[in-house]
Symmetry: C2
């Protein structure tokens, strides 16, 4: 794709697709709703995975792997859960193909399964079945397990990374002896996600609690981190659920406590997915293409040598290799040695791929024992001496990281509106933003607002709930029970 | 499980299951043929994954991710491929459940898919469909992509790790402009697998070529690494396929060469799976339980403090923590601080989990500023001074690694038999071992031998084929075309 990207201001949705396509992050597949993660897109997810995995281990978790298939009867055991997931799942009914009349193959009727299997939309049910076999006494608790896996939710309207039939994610599933411990775990993981979003993704997020109607199917409480995209829409970037004893009761998982009594086990689950790649794109990128925070970028620095004659080529390439050597492996660096591709075309390509820092090296730079640098975040190009280059590059990458976070935070601050009437929401919602309001918890009003404005309650922010005291609901006028954030969301 | 393991000599298959269960590596799931990888088992696979991923990247490969589902029509496009995989695959036919009469849920007939989807048994077809869209010119080649994924092959007879309906693996899929380059790639990856088996798994393997009847469905040549288990059976531990132009032709993938001509693209694919965990268990473990090479072991060193009085407990634990501090994080070390579990019980548990080195610390050791060490590979316990402990422990772990490899190699050497008649194979096959024979390539004889002895051709070893020259086939008496290894295999 060589044409310019659709500008954000013209068509934000098309711009998003253009960024993905021009950076070769993902591609459509022949399977409706499933996407292909191309190497550059997969590498971004893989970097997130590595960083998250370290954070999970530091908080005492271990990884395991549970089956892809779940017997349909398992889904039914938790009433809300089946309600939430039965409508959108892939169902395996046969285990063999046979030659079809007229060519091709078809499911062999003789191979029909006695009980159909569902491709996991999430793994609570199969995991709690196993926990039932592993947990007998308080000594077996807590269980702090995470799983890296693919899951399938049959979505009709899909959007790369943000909503696809199959996606990659991690799902933590923990089992505890007490309510308090489980609540603490659910909140701890919300904190891990918030820190990760801020430190690794350079995305400021609002940690909060979901309203009842936005809860995970089977949860007592759903915690969420919400991020603001550049078009003023919100995106749920990760969730952590306090599941109470719902799944322990559905699968009859009890433990004997130190005092000899038996109780049902308390549970949490928590997850983030490849959706985070979509969040990074939507928060940081610009009309030129992908912009990546250096922590996230599979390639942090690209070196583009410039030459005209063969003699220049030799000396420029030699110096460029020396520069690469000085940065590798502390910095993830690529030297673009391709012949027959003009420097301008190279700049263009690496900019679209979101590489944070470009080091240009021409004959004059070789003579100066220096490089000429361009930041993906803009600003004037600047010289960098070869002496001390590694430290200077690391510093510059840190600066870019901070700059991206600060920009995102400034955008969010500017787009957060305190309003006091429902009319104001109706007037302003089309322009986007987060609307922070005093709110009286009420599912009917919530449904009406969604219907009329397509805005939903993103969360009751953890911080600042005191503010609701003594206020009246912006919609119903009744005494406020929460401070709520309304927004349109992906 | 507290009972002793079934000894290998009594019932090798039961011993294998006992090792897995007592080390808590895996568990049976409610889904027929699918297993649960418990944290200790998953950590072993994860370590393999990390090491392999590094080797793949060092040889120029990148990761990507393709859809789990494959339209059934794709499978049919390569004639041998559909033949090989259609008989054992999970077929998705519906995308929604509905409430069933009499309770529970069932597939909603209104959600029947127009074209059924197969859960990938391997991804050649969907990947070559995508390559068809990505490859236009020689500039787009080579494509060197690897995928870490789960795959499903509906197996009726399963065995944990060795043969399960769902398993985890990696599958490399590469596209090249020339035959030679593709053959070179297939052989390069065979080398990567051999090195990995030797250096990381401490398993000596025989790299070789499969006979036509043992080839991957759709391959021109299948390369394999074969390992010997302790019961004298062989195990195929990894394969690398030269696919010729078969998939490029099936999916019509051509490229324009520098000279303007168009040709079909050349392909390879290669994979190893969680089966390798089974190989490690079967090659190294003993009647006490799991034995792991230090490279593979999630826990390389366990520290078991011993105390009687509270005062002893305090000083012993303090010293034990100092020892842990001295080793962490260079060595993967666990300090077993559990109260109320006797030292003997701790030794027993960690031995069953295959931890290579145990450091016992009692009050006398504290006084001596030393630890008392026990190797999982046996031998007398020995003292190790605290001074210089890290280096000494690393050296000891290296020694254990070498010792395990040497033992496995010695067993294989002893169990490799050169025989010259089919009668001898029939007499000796029951006792196990690898039978190296001059062989005239002949599918009928091969089938007869399999039928009569359950022995199959494991491979034509890459090394030593010259030996066949001038020899006659051990079975048919015709001029030998190859040196072949026959064995019973998993």
């Amino acid at each position: 794709m060589d044409a310019a990207l659709t500008p954000r201001a013209k068509d934000y949705s098309q711009w998003y697709l253009d960024v993905i396509s021009s950076a070769q992050l993902a591609d459509y597949s022949p399977v409706k709703g499933s996407m292909v993660l191309r190497p550059h897109g997969y590498a971004i997810w893989d970097g997130m995975r590595t960083d998250l995995d370290r954070r999970f281990k530091e908080t005492g978790h271990v990884n395991a792997y549970f089956p892809l298939f779940i017997p349909v009867s398992f889904l039914s055991k938790e009433a809300e859960h089946v309600e939430g997931f039965a409508k959108e799942c892939a169902v395996v009914t046969h285990h063999r193909l046979r030659a079809a009349v007229g060519g091709g193959v078809e499911p062999d009727p003789a191979s029909k399964l006695e009980e159909p299997l569902v491709v996991r939309p999430t793994s609570e049910t199969i995991i709690w079945h196993m926990y039932g076999q592993w947990i007998q006494s308080w000594r077996d608790l807590p269980i702090l397990i995470n799983q890296w896996a693919n899951v399938v939710r049959w979505e009709m309207k899909t959007r790369p990374f943000l909503r696809t039939a199959e996606f990659l994610w991690q799902e933590g599933h923990t089992a505890h002896a007490s309510r308090d411990e489980a609540v603490e775990e659910a909140r701890r993981m919300l904190g891990v996600y918030s820190d990760f979003a801020r430190e690794f993704l350079a995305i400021p997020v609002i940690p909060g609690v979901k309203s009842a109607s936005e809860r995970f199917a089977g949860a007592v409480d759903t915690y969420t981190i919400e991020a603001l995209m550049q078009n003023g829409w919100a995106l749920q970037a990760g969730t952590s659920h306090f599941l109470g004893q719902n799944f322990a009761k559905a699968f009859d998982v009890t433990f004997q406590d130190a005092d000899g009594s038996r109780s049902h086990v308390w549970a949490t689950s928590w997850g983030v997915s490849t959706r985070l790649v979509g969040a990074v794109i939507m928060v940081h990128s610009d009309d030129t293409g992908l912009v990546l925070p250096p922590t996230v970028a599979p390639v942090q620095v690209v070196i583009t040598p410039i030459w005209k004659s063969d003699a220049e080529k030799e000396s420029t390439l030699a110096f460029a290799r020396k520069v690469k050597e000085a940065l590798h492996p502390t910095v993830r660096v690529v030297l673009d040695e391709r012949d027959g591709v003009k420097p301008g075309a190279k700049y263009f390509e690496w900019e679209r791929k979101g590489v944070p820092l470009r080091l240009e090296i021409g004959p004059r730079d070789v003579a100066n024992n220096a490089v000429f640098a361009a930041s993906r975040t803009g600003g004037k190009k600047f010289g960098m001496a070869f002496e001390g280059l590694l430290v200077a590059v690391q510093q510059k990458l840190n600066d870019i990281q901070t700059e991206l976070y600060d920009r995102a935070l400034a955008r969010r601050t500017e787009a957060t509106h305190r309003i006091s009437s429902y009319d104001e929401l109706k007037e302003r919602i089309e322009a986007g933003g987060l609307f922070l309001v005093p709110w009286h918890d009420d599912a009917d009003w919530e449904a009406r607002i969604k219907e009329e404005t397509r805005a939903t309650i993103r969360c009751y922010p953890i911080e600042g709930q005191d503010e609701a005291v003594g206020k009246t609901c912006f919609a119903s006028g009744r005494p406020a029970t929460h401070m709520a954030i309304f927004a349109r969301a992906y």
